[in-house]
């Protein structure tokens, strides 16, 4: 479903990566690691066209992403940023934001799925009435993931999703992402527990992308 073939990934004039090849099947889970500044996020962003500093081809369902309408692409391939912006009001309002976009006009927030997601991520239902700026970093990360998953994308791009989570909650989120989420996942993580749990793990060494293991 996803094919990334890059001759070169760069930022300004600096080459970050060469000869990248990743393919992810429908529902496939891939984790990506590497040092800070090695190009993990830039690589993640080739898929949703948030970064255009590369030569090569990136395909989604066989289509060259550069030729797709950005809205079409980004409502199927949703990113959760490391420190996501949620909104300005209550969590409830933040959850509704993407449903107000024209591309989602025929969809609405599914309350049953919301409850299931909150529970799976160890969030109390009452958090919906809390103000966004009172949330902790870990709560923000999980709320952003819940919001992304409510949109039922084909692909989830996660950037360090467990960086602000404690061990217990991190495990629960990991379990959900790997076993109960139908979307393909491309996840950046420096957490060894996450890296070991994903079936496919790539790491960046110098300007090369290396596959760590395959099950």
């Amino acid at each position: 479903m996803i094919e990334i073939r890059l001759e070169r990934l760069y930022h300004d004039e600096r080459t970050l990566l060469r000869d990248v090849e990743i393919s992810i099947p429908e529902g496939g889970k891939v984790v990506l690691s590497g040092e800070t500044g090695s190009g993990k996020t830039s690589l993640l962003h080739t898929l949703n066209r948030m970064n255009m500093g590369w030569n090569g081809v990136v395909r989604f369902h066989g289509n060259d992403v550069r030729e797709m309408n950005p809205v079409e692409l980004r409502h199927r391939v949703i990113e959760v940023m490391q420190e996501p912006f949620l909104g300005r009001g209550k969590v409830r309002d933040a959850m509704q934001i993407p449903f107000q976009f024209k591309v989602n006009h025929d969809r609405s927030l599914d309350p049953d799925r919301l409850l299931l997601l909150l529970k799976s991520f160890s969030l109390p239902e009452s958090i919906m009435d809390q103000s966004v700026d009172k949330l902790s970093g870990g709560e923000k990360q999980r709320i952003a993931m819940v919001r992304a998953m409510l949109l039922e994308p084909d692909v989830l791009l996660l950037d360090e999703p467990s960086s602000a989570l404690d061990r217990e909650i991190s495990k629960k989120v990991l379990d959900f992402v790997l076993n109960k989420c139908s979307a393909a996942v491309l996840c950046i993580s420096h957490d060894p527990v996450w890296q070991d749990a994903f079936p496919i793990h790539y790491t960046i060494e110098g300007d090369r992308l290396v596959r760590v293991k395959e099950i």
Partner: protein, 262 residues
């Protein structure tokens, strides 16, 4: 009642008071103050001369030509006030100012006042000056606000487009804030007129002998013209700004995003 030139010269004696205060308190403002006055006198003398001729000729070509020069000056002022590439800004400002002028001014002339002749410079130029001056100020303020908001809250923009928003959807909140900010003080101002201050135009008309009722009617009309032109200009300018600011990937153009850095 005219002021004679000697009388006007004597009025400068009053300036001794601010000059003494400035000296006493070591404000270091005497030079600045005198320079500002010299500049004002020269500018007013020049504009007075231009207006004399424009009123004397009073042809549609000279009047409309002067109005275009006024638009040019307004565009220049906005561009120099904003820290954004002028090539990017030019169409963003020119079209809204032209469009709002072309909607508001003909309405005021042909529907409301119907002066004789229709394109009377004595009527058109001062009214247009007020409408344009206000549109100019509000547009500069609104674009400045929009630009700085989107740069400080870029994460908000990125989050929205990364979930499938168009640039217009992703900037809705920024546009809303900028538009509201440019309208609110004017609305406040409207409700204060008459109690707190007599507006300049009304005072001027009364001083030059018009009846207060005529002055009031003009004042009401000009407030309507101004708020309409301001809202329309700012709205269109924000629209064009948003349309031009993002590339085909909906990512912001670096020259607009980074203009203050370096």
């Amino acid at each position: 009642m005219d002021i004679n030139w000697i009388g006007l010269g004597l009025s400068a004696l009053l300036l001794i008071i601010p000059i003494i205060i400035s000296r006493l308190k070591k404000l270091n403002l005497v030079g600045t103050l005198l320079k500002a006055f010299a500049r004002m006198v020269i500018q007013l003398a020049m504009i007075g001369l231009v207006l004399e001729y424009l009123f004397k000729w009073n042809t549609p070509a000279s009047t409309i030509g002067w109005m275009l020069i006024m638009i040019g000056a307004a565009v220049h002022t906005i561009i120099s006030r904003l820290d954004i590439n002028w090539r990017f800004l030019l169409p963003v400002i020119v079209f809204p100012l032209l469009a709002s002028s072309l909607i508001v001014m003909p309405f005021v002339i042909y529907v409301v006042v119907r002066p004789e002749p229709m394109l009377d410079a004595r009527f058109l130029i001062p009214i247009f000056g007020m409408v344009l001056g206000n549109s100019m100020n509000s547009t500069a303020l609104a674009l400045e606000r929009f630009h700085s908001d989107i740069r400080s809250s870029w994460k908000e923009y990125y989050t929205y487009i990364s979930m499938g928003a168009t640039p217009r959807e992703a900037t809705f909140g920024f546009c809303q804030k900028a538009l509201k900010m440019s309208m609110m003080p004017r609305i406040m101002n409207i409700s204060a007129i008459g109690i707190i201050a007599l507006p300049g135009m009304m005072s001027g008309q009364i001083l030059s002998g018009a009846s207060p009722v005529t002055a009031i009617k003009y004042q009401i009309m000009i407030m309507i013209a101004i708020i309409t032109a301001v809202t329309l200009t700012v709205f269109l300018a924000l629209r064009l700004f948003t349309a031009r600011m993002f590339d085909e990937h909906y990512l912001p153009l670096p020259e607009v995003m980074d203009s203050e850095e370096s």
